[in-house]
Structures are given as structure tokens and as C-alpha cells.
């Protein structure tokens, strides 16, 4: 918690994007999280990604549940819409927002507690619906806000600050999401913005549900020795399996990626993710092999990161439900209102 306001003064050479905005224009309120919290770094990465994608702030909705992680939407893009929902219920609210206005960029920020315990069912169904949103789990292995109880992502054998050892097996959100058919699944680390920012940009541009599990150490309750979610532990076992660069639609990728091993994946809006494998035995388009690869890596104790699975071009919530094109607010009145006669006919069908 800091009591000094971040001054509005900026670096005089700070670049502007085509909207005339600097990175600092995508900031929000001053963080009230503990100094050094990984969540703040993810916030900074979100700011960077939003600035680079030139998102129009009022065309973005930020959604969250409850937790330290779920507080973070207050710390970026003050001008965007924001909903801080009930614990674990953000996916439902996001579904509503996305259904009503399909043009909104839907950005969910949640925690391992919010998503993998109380909100586990909600999360699963949002993936099943292929709701068009980027969903970030700020994963620290504990319930930070309620003072450090183990969460469902805590590893077996990891010790809490007060001494007890976790004995229950963890839920791995990445493996779970791939198994559930999520169309974009990635893992990253708050301490690696070079990897995180392009992944966030790709997740935002992916049409459908994009899950990003981001390891995000809790400096106060889970950064000690014997913790498997500390900065030091994560760095020791950190293993990026694949590099992903995000290339916006207009840009030519030939020059930068001439060498053979680069694999461009085209997204719905014409932007591309250019992948370069580090591990040979790994293919982010093959569900079964990826799950196997992740389980082997987990046995070796590696913290595998990168874009784990991607399947662009799947039908999203709107395609499946044959909804009208465009947001509801732009529908002509006649289209939204059946009229007295139409209503009577409709009611008739249910008699």
C-alpha cells in the first residue's frame, strides 16, 4: 500500500500510439496491493498491451471477481467500463456484457481462488460457450486477500508461511482448459513481460475464450523459501517451451521471420501469432500431445510457459446462438421490439 500518489508528470519522450495516447494514458488508480505483488506487474503488462493494440478505452470492459487479483481492474484504463462482480461469478457477468455488446473488448482478471475454487463451474462453462473474452488468472497459489490460505492451485508439498504443508493435488488451469476445449490457452509469469505482453495481445485479439494462467507471486504470503510460487522458485524452474510474437494485421512478417522454424497462426482479424518452438516434442495445435507434454513437464518439476494450445476459427457464443450482428444498442427499434401483435403470437406458442 502506498500513500504517495503517482505524479501525472511523464517522460517527455514517451511515444504515442495512433490515438495520440501514451502508455500512461492507459493507467488507472494507484495500486493498493502490497508493494512487490506480481499482480501489479501484470497490470503494467495489460497497460502495455492495451497501448500497443491501440485499444479505445471506452470500448473495453474490465471484469473481475473477488480477491487481490480481482482488485486490479481498478489500476488500469480508468476510462474503460468495469464490473467487480461477486466472488467467482465474473464469467456470468462477462457473458451478459459480451452478449449485449459483441463489439466490446472483454477483459477478465481473476485469481486462482476466484477461478479454481468458488468460480470453477462458472469458468468451465464460459470456456464451453467459447465466450469471446481474454481471461487472466493471476495465480499465486493462495487466497491473498484473506491472508494466505492455500488455494486450489497450490502444489503438493508447498509450505505456507505459517508452516503447514499442502497435501491436496493442485488443479492446473492450463491442463483443465485444454481438456475442456478452450480455444486459446497460455501460461506466463508476471516477471517476464517480454513473454506476457505479446500473449496478452494475442489473447485479446483471439476470437473466443482465451485463458491466460499467469504465475504472480504473492510477496506477502507466498514468497518464502519452500513456496513453489515464489519469485525465486518460479525463476529456478522457469521453462519457456515456445516463443510467441504478436504481429498486427497490417504488418508484413516475411522480413522478420524468414527462417524456417517460425509458424505464423492467423487470427480472425488478420493479425498473426508467430510461434517459434523451443521444445521440439511440442505442438500447440495438438490437444492430446500438449496435455501429455504438460504432465511430463510437471513431473520434472518444470514451470512450462508459452502459448500451450490454440485453435482459431471456432464458433463463439454469438455464432452458436445465431445472434444479430452488432451490439444490441445499435439494433433498430423494430428489430428489438416485436410489437403487440408479435408478442401475442409468441405467447401463443407457449400455451
Amino acid at each position: 500500500m502506498s500513500f504517495i500518489r503517482k505524479p501525472t508528470v511523464t517522460n517527455s519522450r514517451l511515444p504515442k500510439n495512433s490515438l495520440g495516447l501514451t502508455r500512461r494514458d492507459y493507467e488507472g488508480g494507484m495500486s493498493t496491493l502490497c508493494a512487490g505483488c506480481g499482480h501489479d506487474s501484470i497490470t503494467a503488462a495489460l497497460i502495455q498491451a492495451a497501448w500497443e493494440l491501440e485499444l479505445v478505452p471506452h470500448q473495453v470492459v474490465k471484469l473481475s471477481g473477488i480477491g487481490c487479483s480481482s482488485k486490479t481492474p481498478a489500476y488500469f484504463m480508468s476510462q474503460a467500463h468495469g464490473v467487480n462482480s461477486v466472488h467467482g461469478r465474473m464469467p456470468s457477468v462477462a457473458t451478459g456484457a459480451g452478449a449485449a455488446n459483441r463489439d466490446l473488448v472483454c477483459l477478465g482478471v481473476s485469481g486462482d481462488g476466484d477461478s479454481l475454487s468458488i468460480g470453477f463451474g462458472q469458468l468451465a462453462h464460459a470456456m464451453r460457450r467459447n465466450l469471446n473474452m481474454a481471461y487472466v488468472i493471476e495465480n499465486n497459489g493462495v487466497y491473498g486477500l484473506t491472508k494466505g490460505q492455500f488455494s486450489a492451485s497450490a502444489d503438493v508439498g508447498s509450505r505456507a508461511k505459517r508452516g503447514e504443508t499442502n497435501v491436496q493435488p493442485p488443479i492446473d488451469p492450463v491442463v483443465t482448459a485444454i481438456a475442456l476445449g478452450c480455444t486459446f490457452v497460455a501460461r506466463s509469469f508476471s516477471g517476464d513481460k517480454q513473454q506476457l505482453v505479446p500473449l496478452l495481445k494475442a489473447a485479446i485479439r483471439h476470437r473466443g475464450f482465451a485463458l491466460l494462467d499467469v504465475l504472480s507471486p504473492c510477496v506477502t504470503f507466498n514468497d518464502h523459501e519452500d513456496s513453489t510460487k515464489s519469485y525465486a522458485y518460479t525463476r529456478r524452474y522457469y521453462h519457456p517451451a515456445i516463443h510467441a510474437d504478436f504481429v498486427p494485421p497490417a504488418q508484413d512478417i516475411k522480413a522478420a521471420y524468414d527462417h524456417g522454424e517460425a509458424m505464423p497462426v492467423e487470427l480472425h482479424d488478420g493479425s498473426r501469432i508467430v510461434l517459434r518452438k523451443v521444445d521440439e516434442g511440442f505442438d500447440p495445435s495438438d490437444r492430446a500431445r500438449t496435455i501429455g507434454f504438460l504432465q511430463d513437464a510437471a513431473k520434472r518439476g518444470e514451470v512450462v510457459t508459452g502459448l500451450m494450445y490454440i485453435q482459431p476459427g471456432q464458433d463463439d457464443l454469438h455464432d452458436v446462438n445465431h445472434t444479430v450482428p452488432g451490439p444490441l444498442h445499435s439494433q433498430p427499434y423494430d428489430g428489438l421490439h416485436p410489437g403487440a401483435e408479435g408478442l401475442r403470437e409468441l405467447q401463443q406458442r407457449y400455451r
Binding site: 502506498s2 503517482k6 508528470v9 511523464t10 517527455s12 512487490g36 519469485y231
Partner: protein
């Protein structure tokens, strides 16, 4: 890059841009903070320790600190450092009992100072409290040098001058006023242990053009100002041309207006970007409706029947490339009518009174050969400083020379090698007062630079000595002090503590910080959060960080010293620490010959 050696006394000193740029290294942020706290006398004394004449310099300093001020890099206009110095002087209580005093007994060493300008007075100021017997020889009947004879009283009131010169003379200097030294050889015979030449650059440059000597109405600027100052000249014709566009020209044109001129033109040979005058002096002149005429190169004085009627000029056109004149053409010739011409095209040194067989070597331009560190010439025991050493500069440089020369004179008279200079030092003290409390006002204040009020245009010409600038009011300086960025509150990094959480990087409002793989300087500068393009400002590079062996890099360019990095760091790897830069003076030799002593100044 190698890890930065922050122990080197210059590293943190450079971060305090104003103090680094000040020739006398005045501790600017410290005195500004004292003013903010209402400690005007303390602020005055901090100034006096370095620059000796706070009241004078708070009005007329050339202020090299201001273009250097960090605030100008993040927010256009620098802090009004100079005018805040005047606030310290204007609002101070009586400080006479805090001034250094000469001891009851002298050390028996006799020092002669030639000229009673600011350079000599600084030497006297430093040596008198150490027990030296100081004699000052001055050709005029009053001390002060050009500060008295050339800087007009509407910029620098006599009272201020008398007061601050008095502080020094009252320590017990023997002033031999009206006593011109006409022979160095004769002075040497008087057996002084050391001689300091502080005679300035007393000769105004000539402009030998046709007609120059045909009229008494053509004046040399510095001589004319001197004659005005002594009351010998009290009026001038209605139409005056000033030739030259340096600071002397600005004083000449404004003085003319006060002696009856109604149409004053400053004639410049070149376009505006090549003017030598300080921007604020030009502003002040133009505020008084002086016309500044560019691209006119003087050709001849027009004198008809012994009466000056005008001046003939070539009207010029220039080709300027990359800020340099690469070609020039004469477009036409014009005659501009006038009643008086004042030549203000520069000053020169002249030493006709120094015999050339005394072991004092002169160079090809007939200037004495003077050592840049010790200020001693080729004859041991004779020192030069101020404008006399290397030509015209300004008051604050003369003061800086005076301090260094006093140190040399101390060594020379009391034993030791004059080349052996005590080292500078830096003392750091944490500003952390509590969990979220810092001992400085670190909240960035976005206020604009406050303007100094001026006396009404109609009123100011009534008398020659009406001071034009009024000085800041309480309300004004209270805003201005908060604009200072506290550059002396240093960001100090302790690499082994860093867990690379990025908190400092993310919070820094001006994006000064980056954790990255080390590289050579150009590559490192290019890959920072905001590329470090200002090559005048150094990078701080840490040792390898414990977890990833990357380095913490700070671009010093635009840090606003807000302390947020230290505030957000979970391990206190960053701390804000107050730096005190120690610049040794002669009294440091007197107290202790051993290495550097760093005394907290309050």
C-alpha cells in the same frame, strides 16, 4: 557496462544538475528546501558558503544552473533558482553573528589582492578567518569592481552591494582604495607572501571604422557605464545606437533610457539565434521598448561638421545550416540617424603594469600563463583569478576562482604542494522516516514557473536607481519552491536485495528504470523502457541481480525524485538518500590536512 561506481563523489553530484552546473557548486536543492521551511537565514548561509554574495547573485547571476535544471527536461521551464536565492537574501534575519570571524592573532602571512572585484573579495573572505593578513589594492575609491561600476543600480542596488562587500571587509581586510598598482615589480618589493591578481578585464574593445575619432559622442560601453555609475555622465541624446548584442549592450541600452534617450536601437550583426546576451536580459530590454535590429553590420560613423548624425550599416543576409552561418551577403547599405553611439562589443584583459622580466610568462595572445587547477602563474606565489585569468566571464565564475585560489594561497604560504587538492566527497543519509514517510516533499507539483513582478513601466524611469525587479512575494515563492525536484534526494540501489519483482519499474512515473541483460552502453541505452537519448545524462548500472544475473539500469535523465521506486520496493533495495556534496575550500585545509571531512550543514 561496468557497475556504476556511486562512491565516486562526482556520480551523485552530477545528478544534482544545478549544483553540478554552478561553478561554485551551490547546494541549490538544500537552500530551496530551507526556504520552503521558512528558514531564510539558513538558506542564506548555505548560499554564502559557496557563492559568497547571495543577495547580489540572487539578482544578477548569469545562472548557468537554470538551463541545466532537471525541471526543464520534464516540464519546459527550469526552477527560478536565481530568484529564490534572492528570496533567501530578502527575507533573512540579521546573520552577522553567523559570519566567520578573523582570529584575534594573525598567522603572520601577508597576502596582497590587486583589485577589489568579486574574485579578490572571495579570496579575502576565505583567508581572513584563517588568520591571514589581507591587503586589497583598488584603483577606484570604492570596492566592488564591475559589480559596482558597470552593473547598473536598477539591476543591483548599491545597498545590497555595500552590505555583502561589508561582511568581508569587516572581517579585517585592509582596503587601500584609490591605489592603482602600476608596477608588479614594485609590489613584489613589499615582501608579500602571496599576490592575487583580480584586476578583471578592464579594456572595452574598439571599433576602428571611419569617423570613429571625429566625435565625442561615440562611447566605449564599459567606460560609459562606469562614468554613469560615478555620476560623471548624467545624460545622453534622444536617439542612441548600441553596437553589439551581449549583456553589456543590454545594460547600455537600458541605462540610456534612464538618461533621457527616447529612441534606442541595439544593432546586431547577426540573426537572433546568435546573440550572446542571456534570454532574460533581452526580454527585460524589449519590455522597455528597446528595438533590437538584426543583420546590420557597421561600416562607418557619419559625422558632419564635427557632429555625429548617424551610422552607416551593411544590411546582411545569411545562409544558416545546422545552426552555423555558412554564407553571408550584403543586401544594401543603410544610414541610421542617431545622436550617440555606444560600443558594446566585448572586453579584453590588459596587463601593462606587469613587467615581462619577473618570471611571469605570457602566451602568444599576451595573456599570463595560468594553471587551470591552482590558478598560479609561472612565478610561484602569484595567482590570477576572475576575469583577469582567462578573460571576461561572470561573477559566479570569479567567485569559484577565488575559492580555488585561496586554497592554493593557503598551501603556498603554510607549506605543501599547491597542486595537491583535497578530494571532493559525498555523504549520504537515508530519507526514510517511517513506513510511508519521507523527510522531503516528494509530491510532484505541476505548477508553472512563477514570474517575478516588475516595477511599472511608467514609474521605473523616474530615477536611475529604481530597482526594476521586485522579488517574489510570499505567495509566489511558496509555489516556486515546490517546483524543485529535490535532485539531491538520490535513488540509491542495493542489488543483493532485489527480487526482480518489477514494482519499481512499473510505478516510475517517468519510466527511468529497466531490468535487462547487460550490454555495452549504446545497446543498453537503446533497449531501455524509454530509450536513453540524452547522452549528457549518465546511466546507472547495477551489479548483476541475484535471481537472473540481469542488471538494474536507471537513466538519470528524467527522474523526478518522487521516491515511488523506494516506496514500492518490497525489500528496500531502492532507498532515497539525501546527498551532501563536499567541495573543499581553504578552511578545510586549516582544520584538518587529512582526507575529506564532511560536515552536515544542518
Amino acid at each position: 557496462m561496468k557497475p556504476t561506481d556511486t562512491q565516486h563523489p562526482d556520480y551523485f553530484h552530477r545528478v544534482v544538475d544545478c549544483q553540478w552546473a554552478c561553478p561554485a557548486h551551490t547546494d541549490v536543492p538544500l537552500y530551496i528546501r530551507m526556504i520552503a521551511q521558512g528558514r531564510f537565514a539558513d538558506a542564506y548561509m548555505v548560499n554564502r558558503e559557496s557563492n559568497v554574495f547571495p543577495g547580489i547573485l540572487g539578482r544578477v547571476c548569469d545562472r548557468p544552473c537554470e538551463p541545466a535544471c532537471r525541471r526543464a527536461r520534464v516540464d519546459e521551464k527550469p526552477v527560478a533558482i536565481c530568484r529564490l536565492k534572492r528570496v533567501a537574501a530578502d527575507y533573512r534575519s540579521d546573520i552577522r553573528d553567523r559570519l566567520p570571524k578573523a582570529p584575534a592573532t594573525t598567522n603572520g602571512k601577508r597576502v596582497a589582492l590587486i583589485g577589489a572585484g568579486c574574485a579578490s573579495l572571495t579570496v579575502a573572505n576565505d583567508l581572513l578567518p584563517l588568520g591571514f593578513e589581507v591587503t586589497i589594492f583598488e584603483r577606484f575609491d570604492r570596492p566592488g569592481g564591475l559589480m559596482r561600476t558597470n552593473i547598473p543600480s536598477f539591476r543591483l542596488p548599491e545597498k545590497v552591494l555595500d552590505e555583502e562587500i561589508g561582511y568581508i571587509l569587516d572581517m579585517g581586510a585592509e582596503l587601500k582604495a584609490g591605489c592603482e598598482i602600476t608596477s608588479m615589480a614594485a609590489l613584489l618589493e613589499q615582501g608579500f607572501d602571496a599576490i592575487f591578481v583580480g584586476t578583471g578585464a578592464p579594456r572595452g574593445k574598439e571599433l576602428e571604422l571611419p569617423g570613429r575619432h571625429d566625435s565625442p559622442r561615440i562611447h566605449i560601453g564599459i567606460d560609459w557605464l562606469e562614468s554613469v555609475s560615478f555620476g560623471h555622465t548624467t545624460k545622453i541624446g534622444p536617439r542612441v545606437l548600441i553596437i553589439g548584442v551581449g549583456n553589456t549592450a543590454m545594460d547600455c541600452c537600458r541605462t540610456s533610457l534612464r538618461l533621457g534617450a527616447t529612441d534606442v536601437k541595439v544593432m546586431a550583426r547577426k540573426p537572433r539565434e546568435f546573440f550572446k546576451a542571456s534570454a532574460w536580459e533581452l526580454d527585460d530590454a524589449e519590455e522597455e521598448n528597446v528595438e533590437i535590429v538584426v543583420n546590420h553590420s557597421p561600416v562607418a560613423f557619419v559625422v558632419e561638421d564635427g557632429v555625429l548624425t548617424g551610422m552607416l550599416f551593411d544590411r546582411m543576409e545569411y545562409t544558416v545550416e545546422d545552426g552555423r552561418i555558412v554564407d553571408s551577403r550584403v543586401v544594401e547599405q543603410v544610414t541610421i540617424p542617431c545622436d550617440d553611439v555606444v560600443l558594446a562589443i566585448g572586453q579584453e584583459n590588459a596587463f601593462p603594469w606587469i613587467e615581462r622580466d619577473l618570471g611571469i610568462e605570457f602566451d602568444e595572445w599576451d595573456m599570463p600563463v595560468v594553471d587551470r587547477t591552482t590558478f598560479m602563474c609561472t612565478r610561484p606565489g602569484i595567482f590570477f583569478g576572475g576575469d583577469a585569468a582567462w578573460g571576461p566571464e561572470n561573477i559566479i565564475w570569479a567567485v569559484a576562482h577565488g575559492h580555488e585560489a585561496a586554497l592554493s594561497i593557503h598551501r603556498h604560504c603554510l607549506g605543501g604542494d599547491v597542486g595537491d587538492r583535497p578530494p571532493r566527497g559525498v555523504n549520504l543519509q537515508s530519507a526514510k522516516m517511517g513506513l510511508h514517510e519521507w523527510s522531503f516533499s516528494n509530491d510532484f507539483d505541476g505548477s508553472e514557473r512563477q514570474l517575478v513582478p516588475h516595477v511599472d513601466l511608467k514609474k521605473r524611469f523616474k530615477k536611475l536607481n529604481i530597482e526594476v525587479e521586485l522579488g517574489y512575494s510570499l505567495e509566489e515563492f511558496q509555489v516556486e519552491v515546490e517546483r524543485c525536484l529535490n535532485c539531491d534526494l538520490q535513488t540509491v540501489f542495493d542489488a543483493p536485495k532485489c527480487i526482480e519483482c518489477d514494482a519499481c519499474i512499473d510505478v516510475c512515473p517517468t519510466n527511468c528504470l529497466t531490468i535487462t541483460e547487460n550490454a555495452e552502453e549504446p545497446a543498453l541505452r537503446a533497449k531501455l523502457t524509454v530509450p536513453a537519448e540524452n547522452l549528457d545524462q549518465p546511466l546507472f548500472v547495477s551489479e548483476a541481480l541475484p535471481q537472473t544475473a540481469r542488471v538494474m539500469v536507471k537513466d538519470e535523465d528524467q527522474c523526478v525524485h518522487c521516491g515511488l521506486c523506494a516506496e514500492r520496493c518490497p525489500t528496500a533495495a531502492w532507498d532515497m538518500q539525501k546527498s551532501l556534496i563536499k567541495i573543499p575550500h581553504a578552511d578545510d585545509l586549516a582544520v584538518d590536512e587529512s582526507p575529506i571531512k564532511v560536515a552536515a550543514r544542518s
